[in-house]
Symmetry: C2
Subunit: 176 residues, 2 copies
């Protein structure tokens, strides 16, 4: 919708404001749909490659990635919070990974109801191998853009993230 | 990691290439993590507001949004394909919406195994009311950015989308 020019009378100014608001809504919605669409395309491709190459699910990869960042492990509650990304069932995932010797789950000293989960050396090795491949996939998927185009996108997203931290303060977390 | 300067001998050139590749990997991974993080923050906020305001799930909203774009309805198989976004169980969602009179499901003429689903007038009215609110939420969540910042982000994402269509041709779809 074209921006209407400023008018000399009040009704023109009101129309102009309404038109600008509609235009802003339209722009924001298009932007969000484009961002969601790009993210989902990449995520679905990664999900398919993880399954085909390593036989694992995306929630499982994401959980091991979170644990890999914290050599001393994470409380189950913190792990659940961080894994809102994929909505994986943390308890079920942990049970599987414990059975395969990839993570250990231990009671937290001083808090018998809280469990701490961390990667075993075997889990760390398995994750490192997958992470290397994952990084290559991401590099390939983004390689259609020039380096300066990727820089520009990163800077825009950085700006968006800083405004989201302000308007959604509860959403701050330790992830990128 | 700082870019290393070009070297005069072969070992320097090899090191330089390796360093540039590592730097590109690092940049791409950071970019992807930032994009995923921004998308998930907004998506989780929208999910929470849909539940609090309208008592509905995000997959249900997404399904009604897809049907709203197609007044003549969609085949179940096409609906499933488009809803990879949220992984909603299309059959279960359709059963619920039929029971509430918000969609109708009819056999496709000439293909008894294929069902067509479309919004009822009641479903359309309910979706329109939710969509108006949803658009306002998106506008508010992105309002921390200036208009030209949003334009820049949209242009970057547009560029990304066009490169993804090339490297993931199977991912082309009718969505934004």
């Amino acid at each position: 919708m074209p921006d209407s020019d400023a008018k000399g009378d009040d009704s023109g100014a009101v129309l102009d404001l309404a038109s600008r608001l509609r235009s802003e809504h339209h722009q924001s919605l298009k932007l969000w749909q484009r961002m969601l669409s790009c993210t989902v395309r990449i995520e679905n491709e990664i999900r398919a490659r993880l399954r085909a190459t390593f036989g694992i699910t995306l929630p499982r990869f994401d959980m091991m990635a979170q644990l890999n960042r914290e050599p001393r492990g994470l409380k189950m509650s913190e792990l659940s919070r961080r894994l809102m990304v994929t909505g994986g069932n943390v308890t079920g995932l942990t049970d599987q990974l414990v059975a395969e010797g990839l993570v250990v789950r231990r009671a937290t000293p001083g808090d018998r109801r809280a469990y701490n989960v961390r990667l075993t050396p075997k889990g760390k090795r398995q994750f490192d191998a997958m992470a290397q491949e994952h990084e290559q996939w991401i590099t390939d998927l983004l390689s259609g853009m020039q380096r300066d185009e990727r820089d520009a996108l990163y800077e825009s997203l950085d700006r968006l993230k800083s405004t989201l931290v302000t308007c959604l303060p509860s959403a701050t977390d330790a992830s990128a």
